[in-house]
């Protein structure tokens, strides 16, 4: 059954001109197709436009994360196995990006362009990174901020399916934060509900 649903979704995506989407991107879009279809029939409203705005802000955040991991990977400061983990996390962010772009387009919006790595490097003060710990700290800070950002926009979504997508993205970022926290040998949160607070 699951396979049938996946195949149908893949066919739908191909039909709309979206050719290369990872399995996780396809899964992320699950549940958004009904809304996208309604929008295509001209039944969209202000809340759909607002949802597109939120998704575009999320896309900007994902683009920044991709650049940040790129800067870290190219810095020569990361050793194995940390480097492999950083590249894996960058892959996750690329999948988030692809899914967000696909969803924005299906809702009739225009995805925001990514800033250059050089612009991101300046904004994040990458020149100050001197060792692996510095890179991990930056990544840890960005991942926590991203998780909290995804949690903080959940009440603003007009569509509950997209709110759920936001929660799933937050879960990925929280997972990244946890791994980075362990790599830095930082203590785990003593209390529950440490995200979104």
């Amino acid at each position: 059954m699951t396979q049938m649903i996946d195949l149908r979704r893949r066919g739908l995506l191909r039909g709309s001109g979206i050719t290369v989407l990872s399995a996780s991107a396809v899964a992320l879009l699950a549940g958004c197709e009904k809304m996208a279809s309604a929008q295509g029939r001209g039944t969209g409203n202000g809340s759909t436009a607002n949802d597109v705005g939120i998704l575009n802000t999320a896309l900007a955040l994902e683009n920044e994360a991709i650049s940040a991991y790129q800067l870290g990977a190219q810095s020569g400061l990361l050793q194995k196995p940390v480097l492999e983990v950083a590249v894996l996390f960058q892959t996750h962010h690329k999948e988030h990006r692809d899914a967000l772009i696909a969803t924005i387009r299906k809702l009739g919006g225009t995805p925001v362009p990514a800033k250059s790595d050089a612009e991101v490097a300046q904004a994040l003060n990458a020149a100050a990174l001197k060792n692996q710990t510095d890179v991990l700290r930056l990544a840890q800070r960005l991942e926590k901020g991203a998780a909290n950002a995804y949690i903080g926009v959940i009440p603003s979504f007009g569509d509950r399916g997209l709110a759920q997508v936001s929660a799933r993205l937050a879960a990925d970022e929280a997972m990244h934060w946890t791994v980075l926290t362990q790599a830095l040998k930082d203590p785990l949160p003593a209390k529950a509900l440490s995200f979104g607070a």
Partner: protein
Amino acid sequence: MRPPALSLKHIPSGWNQPDGMCPVAQRFRRAHSRSDGTASGSIRSGIALAVLALAAAAPAAAADAARGQELYESRCGGCHSLDANRVGPAHRGVYGRKAGTAPNFSYSTAVKSSTVVWQEKTLDAWLTNPQAVIPGQRMNFRVALPEDRADIIAYLRQQSGK
């Protein structure tokens, strides 16, 4: 450390015990007690209202800029920095600034054309629900708790030199 907010649970359950009760209160209690010695509903309601009135009249706990910094870094830091435009605009100097005027940031049309000036009340409303303050904005991030908003605003105000 912020003191806990007052609520009805802060009315002691043994409030009607004579021990430690002032004479005026004891007379008041005798006049309004039921035959079984329990307080009448009107008295309990009256005390509850009095406590709530006191809570409302008491000055709000001072906002904590140090806690606001922690909240800012963990909640807002995904998109914002004090001195760099990122997903959102740079925040140093935001307090007292007109919306949509951080140098070199590409704002939405809605924010750019807004007349909002960022102060205590406007920032509180913005962090509560940005879309209600400037429809068409792109932030949409909400901070649910009033004390968290107050502390973040205190930090932004401090960093704006206001």
